[in-house]
Homo-oligomer: 371 residues x 2
């Protein structure tokens, strides 16, 4: 069964997002960074975290869970730290502000960290880490995702969101190292994909309320595409014998830096397990505070080159470095556009109609073999 | 088959380590922090990283790979960063100095990072993260372990050491969160244990030079207790379908912060895959730079309490928080001593004889059921 894709140039997609957000009442200075981050995320192939989020954002907006005219304010600040209150809006704009502030401070002092509270979904963590790397700095980003998903090792219920960690480092050749990973074994989206494709789940992805492994993906979801309350995904490691307690520990670390550090409620203890307020953590560090200028990037280039040249077990699947798949997607999509599957196109059409704005990419629908 | 243990009080063990290191020519100001960290590690139940390392240290010392009179020097410094050269000695003393320097700077500025180069094995990363937490700060510690062990996803050979990450956060009740984890699925020591116990390895622990899973542990080792060159452990995740590329990414992140940041050679590209120079990374952050005093620890206490009270899948195995097992071991060992297995006792006796010092715990050998 071939999926139909609409290939949309990045500039069109960005304009589309800007139109929708503006129609929702978001002021221009918030629209600009939000649309920029969302489109970059789609360009880099992280389809789950870009424009595909708009239907959910629309729903949360209608439920009054996202403030469209947020007051974004720096409420505490020192030479190397800051706390930003996101005003209850979407996470993208305050996160751009937070990482840019961390970058400015780290350029001056060598190192800086900025925490954000009272925020919402900020898209892909890697987008902000990459921002630091493009400025020549080492970036680290975390967020406590707003829906309970990860079941702690030995427990019967999900407690943490998928709590991602991103880490980026600048190179001399313009191909930065960009790690962006949930601390769960897999994303909830991948479990849903197994439902669509009628495929069994590998052992170590999903557990039920008894802690037992679930291989039939249909068991894990209610009729509305939501994972049932007592089902959850495993922490990275997947199984206790493969050290899933380490993924659990990493998820807890992210929660500490994104809940307790900025002052955001811990989702695990809340009655509502979904779409609650989130917090973020951003850090920037200047390699030149430790090394002679150029030494860090030259040595990192050498290591990444060494890794990419390793003999692979399968000649058709070369050894990759974090950030390589996203860079390849970006090159392709800058050329041929961002592929939107038909089901997303239908959702976006509805979002546009409800917002009273044109659906811009109207005229390019064509079947494609996938991307 | 019951293993015999010699139970030794911590103070005796510390004195023993001090005697040996002093006999090896290490000056008192280096001996003191080294012995302190090693004994604390044994007290906390991390048997693989405390006194059990002495026979290997002895061997490396004889090979001229560890400097016993290191010149430990801060070679670069700003208000919130520093680079320490460990002088080619053991990692413990420069690491205590590095974390204490990070703590001092973070108390003054809110945040600080110190990198260490030209070092060696520093014991357990958690010991230094805990040091920050005891000072009321959030600590993060990494090291690029000195022997190649982790095979990158898709590759045929080990490239990274087990590259651990430690993270500790202070609580209000004196029971800090202390995560200390290798970025491999399991430690090489656990694979050796399977050899001793004639037990097959779970899928996802060890791979051979073809990238194939190894379940017979005897295949992975040479006749001298060393893993064969083309065998290695998997990155956290264990299997590609359980996202082992995430563990690979984390191991690379640790390498970046411990090789490229301080300026330590990248082990993956060296001819000798074992016991090479290592680098370390230490960071301290003051929660009070972001929150009102006490807010962070109160909220962390609440989260950790929530986690410990979760209903477990097995009533006999409660949900734990990172640091709990080590705290339990410490309480027990402060009471009944540190259990040294007979095979380690024999090694230590030899180390003592070679160093010309007494073996202090001579008179306590008694069979015990294990600990």
């Amino acid at each position: 069964m071939a999926t139909e894709y609409l290939h949309v140039p990045a500039a069109t997609l960005q304009r589309q997002i800007e139109l929708i957000l503006t129609a929702w009442g978001m002021p221009p200075e918030v629209v600009a960074p939000t649309a920029e981050v969302m489109v970059e995320t789609d360009l880099r192939g992280i389809d789950s975290h870009g424009i595909a989020m708009l239907p959910l954002y629309d729903q949360l907006r209608r439920q009054g869970k996202i403030e469209m005219r947020p007051e974004i304010a720096t409420v505490r600040e020192s030479a190397v730290t800051a706390l930003i209150d996101a005003g209850g809006g979407l996470g993208h704009a305050p996160s751009v502000e937070a990482m840019d502030l961390a970058v400015d401070k780290a350029r001056a002092a060598g190192l800086a960290a900025v925490a954000v509270r009272n925020s919402n979904h900020f898209g892909a963590a890697g987008a902000y880490a990459l921002r630091a790397a493009r400025a020549g700095l080492i970036g680290m980003v975390m967020t406590n995702a707003g829906s309970r998903a990860i079941v702690p090792t030995r427990a019967r219920e999900p407690v943490f969101g998928t709590n991602p960690i991103a880490f980026a480092a600048p190179t001399g050749n313009g191909e930065p190292f960009v790690l962006d990973m949930a601390t769960s074994t897999i994303a909830v989206g991948k479990v849903k994909l197994a439902v669509y494709n009628h495929r069994p789940l590998p052992e170590g992805w999903v557990v039920d309320g008894e802690g037992d492994d679930v291989t039939d993906p249909t068991l894990a979801f209610d009729g509305h595409g939501r994972m049932k309350p007592d089902y959850g995904v495993t922490p990275l490691g997947g199984l206790p014998r493969l050290s899933s307690h380490k993924g659990y520990g990493l998820a807890a670390m992210v929660e500490i830096l994104c809940s307790m550090l900025p002052g955001t409620p811990f989702i695990g203890a809340l009655a509502d397990r979904r779409e609650h307020e989130t917090g973020h953590f951003f850090q920037a560090m200047d390699p030149d505070a430790f090394r002679e200028p150029g030494a860090f990037t030259a040595e990192l280039d050498a290591m990444l080159g060494h890794l990419r040249r390793l003999t692979p077990t399968d000649p058709a699947a070369p050894v990759l470095v974090a950030g390589d798949p996203e860079r390849a997607a970006e090159a392709q999509r800058l050329d041929s556009g961002i592929p939107l599957p038909a089901i997303l196109v239908a959702s976006l059409r509805q979002v546009c109609a409800d917002a009273g704005v044109d659906f811009l990419p109207e005229h390019a629908m064509a079947p494609a073999a996938g991307t």
